[in-house]
Amino acid sequence: MTPSANRGLSRRAFVRTAVAIGGAPALDACIERWGAPDAARPPDGGQSLPERQFAWDESVATDEAGNHLGPRHRVLLYLDYAREGEPTDADRERTEAALGSLERAYEWSNDGLLFTVSYSPAYFERFGADLPESVELPEPEALSSFEDPALDRPDAVVHLASDHGEAVLAAEEALMGDRESLGDVEMQASLADAFERVDRRTGFIGDGLPADNQDVAGIPDSEPVPEDAPLYMGFKSGFRKNQASEDRVAIESGPFADGTTQQISQIRLRLDDWYGEQDHDERVGEMFCPFHAEEGLVEETGEELGDSSRVEECPEDLDATAREHGRIGHAQKNATVREDGSPIILRRDFNSTDGDEAGVHFLSLQRSIADFVKTREAMNGTEQTRNLEIRQRVNNGILEYTFVKRRGNYLLPPRSRRALPTPRSG
């Protein structure tokens, strides 16, 4: 299958569709129209790469306010290790060689390719030893009294990210052994001998992409997503001051120091009522907090907020907001778990049209999964349901419009241990 050849389709929509479809024909269709991927190559003499695989902030674009902009195109490869028992050294070497080839082919940036490799609790079960105490990596679980997600248990997840959809596609093809070189860089190995691809999830983030791709289930036919919104729900997120720093989410000691934990929830969006029953102020009230609506802080997508969602200006007393406004805000709830004024998770989420449904792959990084759990519990607003107007999922932030379908937890090791790591040193 290839993306539609409709001449009217913009390049960004075409490339986004190609990423969603995947495979060699999709990539070929892009190359046929616009030539070889023009993603940035590494500088001559090679590039020095951070030990933290997730150290992206220094290498991504920023907006005028200094917010880090997530790479626009994404693929998540869900992989199972091909053998029973502990991984072999040969597989470890192949894996490292394949990943190293990507680094020789692309600049480590949004203009080239950023990627991470992570491993699930299920992967580590194959070893006789447990993970060290410095790593907290439980099995995924339901985290509210109303969600019942399927639990993902692949062995590994590779996250590919670039502003060039073609680069993401080509990297995937090369990793899976369907492409022998990237530009003039030959793949030293592929993951195909060591892993089986069991799922692939795709998506995008950034101005214009959601509006271009709103003809999917979950978004009303009126095409309500603003043209310049970076996400389907119509607002900016990931303001610099509302993200944990990479330091805050890094594991500090032990064999996985400079690693982190990664949580990925697949969330279905149902925005008929979000856009159909609510006006802008009501949406602002539920996404940020009623204070923002009252003060008119968010004119359109929240661009004018600068580098902060200004959530600290929302009342800390959620019950008072509930009593006064009959609803509480999503950001307002999450702000209750800040530490020294900052959140404890680092969002790297993006939107998706997988399954022809509007969705979010909510990918977050945090020092321990417990930090995510704490944040998610705050988002549940359970205590506030003491207020009659605040129900389990209604008038309670954005819970009415988001349906968590799948969740997985992973350890994202430091770069030097990213190839089929053992739970202990070595």
């Binding site: 339901a142 509210s144 009294s145 109303f146 969600e147 019942d148 289930a217 279905r268 149902r270 008929d272 009522d273 009959g326 399954g355 449904e357 359970t382 349901t385 009659l388 107007e389 129900r391 389990q392 999922r393 209604v394 008038n395 819970l399 009415e400 349906f403």
Partner: protein, 384 residues
Amino acid sequence: MTDDTGTDDGPIDRRATMRRRAFLAFGSGLAAGTALSGAVGGASTRDRPNRQETTTGNETAGPQRTTVEDRPEGVYVQPFLESMSMQGTAEVGDYAVALLYTVPHVFWTVTGSDRSRQPLSPDASAHVMAQVWDPETDTVLPEAGLSIEITRDGELVSEEVIYPMLSQRMGFHYGGNFTLDGDGTYGVRVSVGGLQIPRTGAFEGRFGEPASAELELTFTEATRSEIRIREIDQAGERGALRPMEMEALPLGRAPALEELPGSVVGTAESGDARFAVSRVPADEAGRFTDGEPYLLASARTPYNDLVLPMMGVEAAVTRDGETAFEGRLERTLDPEAGYHYGAAVPGLAAGDTVALSVSTPPQVARHQGYETAFLDMPEMELTV
């Protein structure tokens, strides 16, 4: 399966007329079926025999658009009577779940004291309803956030959080209008959210976990023909239709006064709601309190004693001219008292005065006949 409690079929010609009207907008078939019974309960007409359908009036069956001009403040007889198509039941986790549908419905949501009429989309195919109850005691469970996912051949058709609702025929239930993708059989996943309110007695530790039931909804001429609608000539009068009785479908009724725990000290009315107030002495209140007496208020609709949940109820107890207690009565679910509002009140005894106030009216969406009731709720006073 239809609601088949009725035996008051009129003459054939009249039935045919009714059927034609019933299917004008909702279907076209004239499949065999049982016509409806219905009864109107009113202060003076509560036990009168079932009435037959009228054959006059506007020909507006199907999507329920019939309205009442000059509707009274307070509970009034809804202008139509319809039956449901039962699609199936399932037990999952701590819950029993039933799935039903009927014609698309007008209803009103309530946030705080504000009532908001939900527009009836011309595309709406059906009013899809779910009932959730405890299979051991048949207690209907309010406050379990519900969502419904509808698929067809594995493809997503819809998924929505649905409304807690109150209607004269169903009592408390969950529902919403949905647009389906034509005739056929749909997969329906009903997701039940765990309760966040206190549970007492044998309910302690139950109903806290989510669970999902997989059911099917067959939307065809055959199932639509199970749905009968007729107009009610007492529409708009004070009163209420008698609730539907359907096998395998418990109804959310508040317990009879004599079945409430403790001793009932009286009843009071506010905004057309009835409150039965009971004092549970300390030695019988072990499951509710830490050694103190328990003040219990059981709220229900007039005429049919349907449970009125999701209300903010506060009490002030005065003893010898002094305030002995002031505070919120917690929404609580108990096997014997059912869904009620209660608090430990130290020393609660005969002679105490209880002022009950409603800080937030029932936050349930209202079907017709209930939308003007239970909103403006003045303070009540009783003496223990």
